[in-house]
Symmetry: C2
Subunit: 387 residues, 2 copies
């Protein structure tokens, strides 16, 4: 049989980071030591109180389907979190539990986007965003962002790219790969612009808890008429559990529920029951300690990278990434990353994974490994660059 | 803000069964007793060995991402299952772990279907099938099946509906809602027909373990060039864990992997680790006892329903459903189900959930509740019908 895939598959690029990870694992299997600074996943395990709640859920036989909108006690806990931590009133009915932020993003875009419609997003940005739009026959419209714009879109950049077909503006704060946060006034101006142009705003806040500037804010402070996507993966350390949520404008909840029933029926039940404990005092304490550790790693790594010849024009406000300009060291970041992996035993991600905006000039460093490993990584990079 | 959803949302019908379930829960909250014969979910909890393996996985911190294709030990266990139980050699590389069969179905269709292309499927059938095709801008082509065709498509029915746009033939054996199995020779003839017409075959085998005719067979016996979707939900009693798998032709694995990385990253890690124990001798023993219990329920229910005036022209071979003809009792199965729920306290699903092929003449009974409850349900129906 001849294999023939749908045309949109040609637009979907494989993640270089997965290829690099596979190569790194192969080298490790051959006995090589590899420092992992490519992985977008916390090195910490799930906090113990969540683990224990998961074990309890299994012991109690919480293994049947929940409603498509999610376990009510978890939706309530998220609503409480918004009220108590961020001082925002979000009705439980507007909170839907999803299988990861991926599930949330796909759900929201699938409810909104017709073939031919456009979704505006930053470049560099999370690569799956574009691909979800392609799958729906829509068209991603990217806005090139740079250190000059704090690596984020702002309202002044929108008129240049905006067309009648723009249906949604997809923002991420903090962003992957740049870790920058959208300032409140910029967020407000963009929401106003989109609403004036009959478009919806979707804000990816999956790195919200991982912020080094306090207090954290949510775009939900500014409007009830936006979609906000969040996740238990990054801040809460629950990647493998596959759990996220979306806060939606009230009028869209019925559609989201209907489509969720079809797309995935419901998120994992043991994960949902366990995640209720993600908001416990004890868990929050563990999580805040981890934020402090990430901050220390960031603060170690930035000056070291600059000493090596990388440029870090913007200190990232959150997430666990540094998007470093490598143009003083190479004019081909993909080739550089390959060489660094094979010759120096350090795995890092080339800009190509995050878009078409001068990707050859950038490399993403993830500080999802301990300080000693970061130090060893820096030593190896220094030797490699000294050549 | 005015809510405006994508046009495909209008084609996606909400499940009546979810509405009925919500009404049933409301009645129960008011103190009414309801017999549940509407739910497509085993009443049994996950078998204890799987629960214990899940607890162990959490204790060991198995909470990080697996590769998008899944945990290798689980893929190996599934390959072993095919070899040992069904005497089919399936290379581990062709087995991908998915978040439920929903994830598998969406993944496979998304890799295959271009806008405007058609997917042939039976009516009545699982309602989500059509909706996944709509989301991709494709067109479901339904083949009306009836007791005369064992409630399944066969190769003789294909030429009447087949067009140049037909890209895939989607079969289910055993089927939801009818529980019937496709005979080997019919399966073989349909695979040949599809391949002759440059189309792929996708076989939903999620009720495979729940068969009352032994030995069970898989369509994979007949061809390596088909997609087979399976699930840990129904036979293995793991609905809430959200775990399934797909066996794909070798040439499609790369595309499936690439798209899975985008759609959902990976299936739940604790679920994957736990599911390895689904193939233990001890678990299989528990599961086979459950099959025997389902069989007893089926064998009790069919003559009772016939005595009440329903017609069950085909004894279902598998799954836990009876698709009963109610035309001697009502000419509107939806209205009948509503009345039965509110007046008799029995929840059953109208044909409307499964397609457009004379749905008013059919009701799906799920025997996912214990024998005593089924007996009480029958008593209540008898009183209602005597009315």
């Amino acid at each position: 049989m001849q294999c023939k895939h749908a045309a949109h598959m040609d637009k979907i690029q494989p993640f270089r980071v997965m290829q690099l990870l596979a190569e790194a694992r192969k080298l490790e299997a051959e006995g090589r030591s590899i420092i992992h600074m490519e992985v977008g996943e916390p090195d910490f395990d799930t906090p113990q109180p969540i683990i224990e709640a998961g074990i309890q859920a299994l012991k109690e036989g919480r293994t049947h389907y929940t409603p498509a909108t999610g376990e009510m006690a978890l939706r309530q806990a998220i609503s409480d979190y918004y009220r108590q931590q961020l001082h925002i009133d979000i009705a439980v009915e507007r909170i839907l539990i999803t299988p990861g932020a991926s599930g949330a993003l796909q759900l929201v875009l699938s409810v909104l986007i017709n073939p031919g419609e456009q979704v505006v997003m930053a470049d560099p940005g999370y690569p799956c965003n574009r691909n979800f739009v392609y799958l729906l026959g829509g068209e991603p419209v990217t806005v090139d962002v740079s250190a000059q714009t704090h690596f984020q879109i702002n309202a002044d950049l929108l008129p240049d790219v905006w067309t009648e077909q723009c249906r949604a503006l997809l923002l991420a704060s903090p962003s992957n790969p740049t870790g920058t946060i959208i300032a409140r006034k910029d967020m407000q101006a963009m929401i106003a612009y989109a609403h004036d142009h009959d478009a919806v705003v979707i804000v990816d806040e999956i790195y919200q808890g991982l912020c080094y500037q306090q207090p954290v804010y949510s775009a939900l402070e500014l409007s009830d008429d936006i979609f906000v996507i969040n996740s238990f993966s990054k801040y809460f350390g629950m990647t493998g559990w596959r759990l996220g949520w979306v806060v939606a404008p009230e009028g869209y909840v019925g559609d989201l529920d209907k489509l969720a029933q079809n797309l995935y029926l419901a998120a994992s039940t043991p994960a949902q029951v366990a995640a209720i404990s993600a908001f416990n005092v004890e868990t929050v304490q563990i999580l805040q300690q981890r934020v402090e550790i990430y901050r220390q790693r960031r603060d170690y790594l930035i000056p070291e990278l600059e000493a090596l010849g990388f440029k870090v024009p913007i200190i990232p406000d959150g997430a666990f990434y540094i998007y470093a300009d490598c143009s003083a060291l190479t004019d081909d970041s993909l080739d550089f990353c390959q060489q660094v992996l094979h010759q120096a035993g350090v795995a890092i991600t080339p800009g190509l994974d995050f878009g078409d905006n001068h990707p050859q000039k950038y490399i993403r460093f993830a500080y999802t490994t301990d300080l000693d490993s970061l130090k060893e990584g820096v030593r190896r990079l220094r030797t490699f660059i000294a050549g």
